[in-house]
């Protein structure tokens, strides 16, 4: 059994493109759910907007990438306003219902046959649409060590991706320590109390939803640029729920929660999959118990069990404070 490859793949994925994407999605959710208490179940929709903005403007219309980025952000802001205006005055659960439906609408529209010419149907849009940006890559080669391995292009994506994460973490850190962040946290605790003290709760909720949504759109941008393709089914509700798993694993309302949560999540997911695969191939696990084609399902079952164990033994997540959680039980 090749433990070295298992570890190499796991560590690579721990800091790989997928980890960045889910980290970004969870960073957005952290502002919405972690700090403000907004149940946005449509983060996949925001990511889809970011990804399709890149694909459609660059691949279909031939516009430059920076302009595509601008449209991605603009699209996320409009989507947030559309979701927020009718629902943010209502109770929290309405936002949850509306966002999960809206994200699915976006995906279904993107994969619809009648809009095939614009969005490429269920195949999505592929093409060298980030070629200009990859051309900026100053790295001569990729990296290939015993522990991690990236191709030249992947390394460029990973470096830029984690830089983006660092910038967003810094902004989040600045915001949540400010009076603005204090208002958000107060809204999460009791919005009527905040209203009674003269703060425009609706405005703050809208700002949080929009900011978190724009960060979610960046997840889609990285996804599109790294894969050089956009497929609608990558933006199904699973993306949102994985992002929530990442957020809660790391600890909601903690600045570094999504970063560490995403790394742990992807390390575990890949490690369990690779270890099982290798064990089956090496004959440690008899194929009468587990066939190689069943590894994928078992992998998610085991990770799910792990997450359940986390919720039982460390419900506050990695960075959370158990004392805070105990306050809810009073």
């Amino acid at each position: 059994m090749d433990w070295l490859t298992v570890f190499q793949n796991s560590l690579t994925q721990m800091i790989g493109v997928q980890a960045i994407i889910y980290c970004l999605a969870a960073l957005g959710l952290n502002i919405q759910f972690g700090y403000t208490g907004l149940l946005n179940f449509g983060q996949a929709g925001f990511a889809a907007i970011g990804a399709y903005a890149i694909a459609v403007t660059v691949a279909t219309l031939g516009w430059p990438l920076w302009l595509a980025l601008f449209f991605g952000i603009l699209g996320a802001i409009i989507f947030a306003l559309l979701l927020g205006i009718p629902t943010l005055r209502l109770r929290a659960d309405y936002l949850a219902i509306v966002t999960i439906a809206a994200a699915e609408i976006i995906r279904q529209v993107a994969r619809s046959v009648s809009l095939n010419d614009y969005f490429g149907g269920s195949d999505g849009i592929s093409g060298k649409y980030a070629a200009d940006w990859y051309a900026l890559n100053p790295l001569p080669v990729g990296i290939d060590t015993a522990l991690i391995r990236f191709s030249r292009n992947d390394l460029w994506v990973v470096i830029n991706g984690w830089t983006l994460v660092a910038v967003i973490v810094l902004i989040t850190w600045l915001l949540v320590r400010s009076p603005w962040g204090r208002v958000l946290k107060s809204i999460r605790e009791d919005e009527d109390a905040v209203r009674s003290l003269g703060k425009n709760v609706y405005l703050y909720k809208m700002q949080a939803l929009t900011l978190g949504g724009v960060i979610g759109a960046f997840a889609g941008v990285i996804f599109a640029v790294a894969a050089q393709s956009v497929q609608p089914d990558n933006y199904a509700t699973t993306l949102t729920f994985f992002a929530y798993a990442v957020l809660i694993l790391g600890g909601a309302a903690r600045v570094f929660g999504p970063v560490v949560g995403s790394m742990i999540f992807w390390f575990l997911l890949v490690f369990v999959g690779q270890a099982l695969n290798n064990a089956v191939k090496a004959g440690y696990i008899s194929s009468s118990i587990l066939r190689p084609d069943q590894v994928g399902q078992i992998q998610f079952m085991l990770v799910g069990l792990g997450l359940m164990a986390l919720m039982i033994f460390r419900p506050q997540g990695i960075f959370g404070d158990k004392k805070e959680l105990a306050l809810d039980e009073r």
Binding site: L175, S178, S186, R188, E189, S196, L197, G198, K323
Partner: protein, 308 residues
């Protein structure tokens, strides 16, 4: 503001008593210097008219109590005038500006700050952070300005200074770093009141400030409310504790079944037959069965007004 050094410290209290002495004790009585004026305010839930107030004025600088039996509509009335609950009809103004249809946060910015019957402290924020939230006009509460601490750090220090002073006054300084969610019920009441004071209200509206507060603390809280009156703040409060109402209020307004049924100085109001009827039912002094005795007891405790 006292003209002679020998004058008692409670100068405002006596001047307000003097001003209110000329007001006729009838429901909806006009006041010489009203800070709040409400007209034909109604709120019904389905067929039930929870609030039906034809006219109400609150004297500036006074401590005005709003009392009434359970279900009289006192809290609903508070909710309506602070913008938390939309009325069916009605207009009201505060310091001369109309507030009907104004959202709750703007009402608060006008200087009408309320507390809640079921305290609303922010559980997962520290006591000090709860206090800081109360301050108005914070530069750092804007999304973009929040990113540059240099813009708001100085103001934050001033707010913290003021919050610490206020916590000292309200006997909460020793728990300033604790989560507000870990406080006792009485401490939460205190924190909510102190937090409301951070907003520099011109009228403080307290919904049952004494409910659940330890009797030893009640006395200091009463003193505190009286001191607030000396600073010129109007206090309008809902309370069931008659001793407290008698002790601190300059004027009492009685609600029953949504309407104002009586008004006047505390001693007069508690002798008013309409008020006793509202609390005990119109036939309360007819001894129906053995329960007649206990009813009379309650009526006695309501009317005893001499000791203050």
């Amino acid at each position: 503001m006292s003209d002679s050094p020998a004058a008692p410290s409670r100068t405002k209290a006596s001047s307000i008593k003097a001003a209110l002495a000329s007001v006729s004790p009838v429901p909806g009585a006009p006041k010489p210097d009203a800070i709040f004026v409400g007209d034909s305010i109604t709120r019904s839930f389905g067929g039930l008219a929870a609030v039906d107030v034809s006219h109400l004025e609150v004297q500036r600088g006074s401590i005005t109590a709003l009392i009434g039996p359970n279900g009289a509509g006192k809290t609903t009335f508070f909710n309506v005038i602070t913008g938390f609950d939309p009325p069916n009809t009605g207009t009201w103004s505060f310091e001369g500006s109309s507030l009907a249809g104004t959202p709750a946060y703007k009402v608060a910015r006008e200087g009408m700050i309320r507390t809640f019957q079921l305290t609303k402290v922010l559980n997962k924020l520290s006591v000090l952070e709860n206090m800081r939230l109360g301050a108005q006009g914070q530069t750092g509460e804007g999304l973009f300005r929040a990113l540059i601490p240099a813009l708001w750090r100085k103001q934050e220090e001033e707010i913290t200074e003021r919050a610490l002073g206020m916590l000292e006054q309200f006997n909460l300084i020793h728990v300033k770093d604790d989560f507000a969610g870990s406080l006792s019920g009485g401490q939460r009441k205190l924190l909510e009141m102190a937090r409301a004071m951070m907003s520099n209200p011109s009228m403080l509206m307290l919904d049952e400030p004494m409910a659940g507060v330890n009797p030893a603390l009640t006395q200091s809280l009463l003193e505190h409310i009286k001191e607030l009156r000396e600073t010129g703040i109007t206090i309008f409060f809902v309370e069931h504790d008659m001793d407290m109402v008698r002790d601190i209020s300059d004027w009492v307004i009685v609600m029953a079944q949504g309407s104002i049924i009586a008004e006047g100085p505390p001693a007069d109001v508690m002798r008013n037959p309409a008020v006793i009827d509202a609390y005990l039912g119109a036939h309360h002094d007819v001894a129906l069965t053995e329960s007649g005795e206990s009813l009379t007891d309650t009526s006695v405790s309501l009317t005893k007004s001499e000791e203050s």
